[in-house]
């Protein structure tokens, strides 16, 4: 084993990452993160749930269009979208994060509704704002935007929609 630099905050280790249920893991500011691809997604989350992480705190997504070469452990293939699941073990009081890579040309992922019914609204929000389709979701419709809205606002290629505002000179003292 060659000498390694002490990993600074935010960097993953250079060597082979530790495996959790067969998926590469890393530490992000002392928070445990498991990286999965679509095929192993349900299997790993089920395994984590059986380990004790029985509460799903949060399901969200990130569009890495403008940061496609973000740091990832060895063996993880970077895709445009990442769906991020935060799980919580209430008995031990610890958290774990799962980052699933979702490709752009086919943005689908199996739903977590069967494992965690509380992800229903959160997955709808991810669908609405990112356009990621969750297969097997009981009611995948828009939730925040109007039903006839076109586009998925939180994608990086969707503009913020700012209107130009002209500032005239400041008013004089009253």
């Amino acid at each position: 084993m060659t000498d390694q630099d002490v990993p600074t905050a935010g960097e993953t280790e250079v060597e082979e990452p530790a495996l959790i249920h067969g998926a590469p893991s890393s530490l992000s500011r002392d928070q445990l993160v498991v990286h999965v691809d679509r095929e192993k997604y349900i299997e790993i989350i089920t395994a984590l749930r059986d380990d004790g992480y029985a509460f799903c705190s949060d399901v969200t997504a990130i569009d890495y269009l403008l940061a496609i070469d973000r740091p990832l452990p060895v063996g993880v293939r970077a895709e445009r979208f990442e769906v991020v699941i935060n799980l919580l073990d209430m008995q031990e009081g610890k958290r774990i994060r799962v980052r699933a890579q979702v490709p752009e040309r086919e943005p689908t992922l199996p739903t977590l509704f069967e494992l965690f019914p509380g992800t229903e609204a959160m997955e709808r929000e991810v669908y609405d704002l990112f356009g990621i389709v969750f297969e097997g979701h009981p009611d995948l419709t828009r939730i925040l935007m109007p039903d006839d809205w076109e586009g998925h606002p939180l994608r990086k290629d969707y503009p913020i929609g700012r209107i130009p505002v002209q500032f005239k000179e400041a008013p004089g003292p009253r």
């Binding site: 905050a9 928070q31 969200t60 935060n86 509380g118 109007p146 929609g161």
Partner: protein, 435 residues
């Protein structure tokens, strides 16, 4: 009139007649999300012309903001319920990508507008974790103080609106009257009654004012007798009990499956409070009880919040004793602007101030998730940074958004009047639901 209905029609998001609804959607609307839990007690095969679909909101007199509930009723009994949200969607997560980290507090503070300081706290904690800086002790204790006072103000607001929804209209006046005292202290410290932008990454914006101990203790001396009054007015009162006991019952297993947290989960008897289970700030150094209910009904949720005000006062008294001296924000030049007086003296301070407020400070690459216990449940903040001065992605895990999923389950089989009581006991704040 048909034109107007077409304009406000939300298509697939609405509750459709039974014949038009798929099985999976119907199961959601009936609250039968858990496998093995059947709602066959009320699930009679009624045809569409025997039931009525009514629309509650988004503008309705209950003071819970723009929540639209579509209910299918058989007479007075609620069979199916579908919340339609998004009427307050502000694009805050997208806006956050456009604002610097220092400006981020102004954005998140407007999400849960009944307890804005908690939003700022969770955002600041997440940014500080990314920055890997340590906030001075005094700042942490000030944050705890403000967070607990904010919890008191939010629960007083709950008591006011809950009372009014259930008919105790004087409770509205009492709740707001007491809330004004807390807001007066906030105005003295932060400059604003609401949406303070006070808790920022690095510490707090300004030190506590002189005489704060007297102000806070005066508040803590004034409130207990008022809370006893509300206990007398509401808790023992037969009408209140009839309207809240046994209404909107949920069990621990169902609440955890639906990812509900906060008073909803605690009302089932499960003592889950992030301040106790996964302490942040210095909650492990103060003594307080986690209030739990037993039956998981509306009455328990009301009683929990009432008693949480008492527990918060207990914590506040301890903070008054334990508050250390020191800096109220981290002295790291990269993150904190210089004191205003220095700007006149030093060019370097002026440039430094300018850079922080225009360009913003850069946060190293990475992603974190931090969660705190807000008055409504687990409030989480997930930030991913790409090394620049603006967040690459900021997501707030809003407790009300997730708690709203319990509504179909809670309302099933109840009466329309109970629907108001149930929404009120879930205490959603639409700003954080829709963001």
């Amino acid at each position: 009139m048909t034109d107007l209905t077409a304009e406000t029609d939300e298509g697939a998001q609405e509750l459709k007649p039974r014949s038009d609804t798929s099985d999976s959607v119907r199961a959601l609307e009936q609250g039968a999300v858990l496998r093995g839990v059947s709602h066959d007690d009320v699930d009679v095969e009624v045809s569409d012309d025997e039931t009525m679909i009514i629309n509650m909101g988004p503008q309705h007199p209950s003071t819970h903001g723009v929540l639209r509930l579509m209910l299918e009723l058989d007479g007075e009994t609620v069979l199916r319920c579908k919340p339609v949200i998004g009427y307050l969607h502000t694009g805050m997560e997208k806006q956050a990508e456009d604002l610097t980290f220092l400006q981020g507090s102004t954005n998140v503070t407007r999400m849960d507008y009944a307890s804005p300081l908690n939003n700022e706290l969770v955002f600041s904690l997440a940014v500080e974790k990314l920055l890997d800086i340590e906030v001075p002790e005094r700042a942490l204790w000030i944050r705890m103080l403000m967070s607990e006072l904010q919890r008191m103000a939010s629960h007083l607001l709950f008591l006011a609106t809950n009372g009014m929804d259930l008919g105790a209209i004087s409770m509205m006046i009492y709740g707001f009257r007491d809330r004004e005292n807390v807001l007066a202290f906030f105005e003295k410290t932060t400059g604003l009654r609401m949406n303070h932008n006070y808790i920022r990454p690095g510490g707090v914006a300004a030190d506590l004012p002189d005489g704060w101990r007297e102000d806070v203790l005066k508040l803590c001396d004034y409130l207990p007798s008022k809370l006893d009054e509300y206990d007398e007015l509401l808790t023992g009162q037969p009408i209140w009990r009839e309207r809240t006991q046994g209404i909107g019952v949920i069990t621990t297993e169902q609440a955890i499956a639906l990812s509900a947290t906060g008073p909803i989960l605690r009302s089932t008897g499960f003592p889950w409070d992030l301040r106790r289970a996964m302490p942040y700030l210095h909650y492990d150094q103060v003594d307080f009880d986690v209030v739990v209910g037993s039956y998981g009904d509306t009455f328990d949720r009301y009683a929990i919040r009432l008693n949480e005000v008492r527990e918060s006062m207990r914590i506040v008294r301890q903070i008054v004793d334990k508050m250390p001296a020191g800096d109220y924000r981290v002295q790291d030049k990269k993150v904190t602007p210089p004191p205003r007086a220095r700007i006149d003296e030093s060019m370097e301070a002026l440039i430094h101030h300018f850079k922080i407020f225009t360009e913003g400070f850069k946060v190293p690459e990475g992603e974190v998730y931090v969660a705190i216990e807000s008055p409504r449940g687990e409030l989480g903040c997930y930030i991913a940074s790409d090394g620049s001065a603006r967040p690459y992605r900021m997501h707030i895990r809003a407790p009300s958004f997730v708690n709203l999923q319990t509504l179909p389950h809670l309302m099933r089989g109840g009466l329309v009047a109970d629907a108001v009581a149930i929404i009120s006991s879930v205490d959603p704040i639409m700003g954080e639901v829709d963001r």
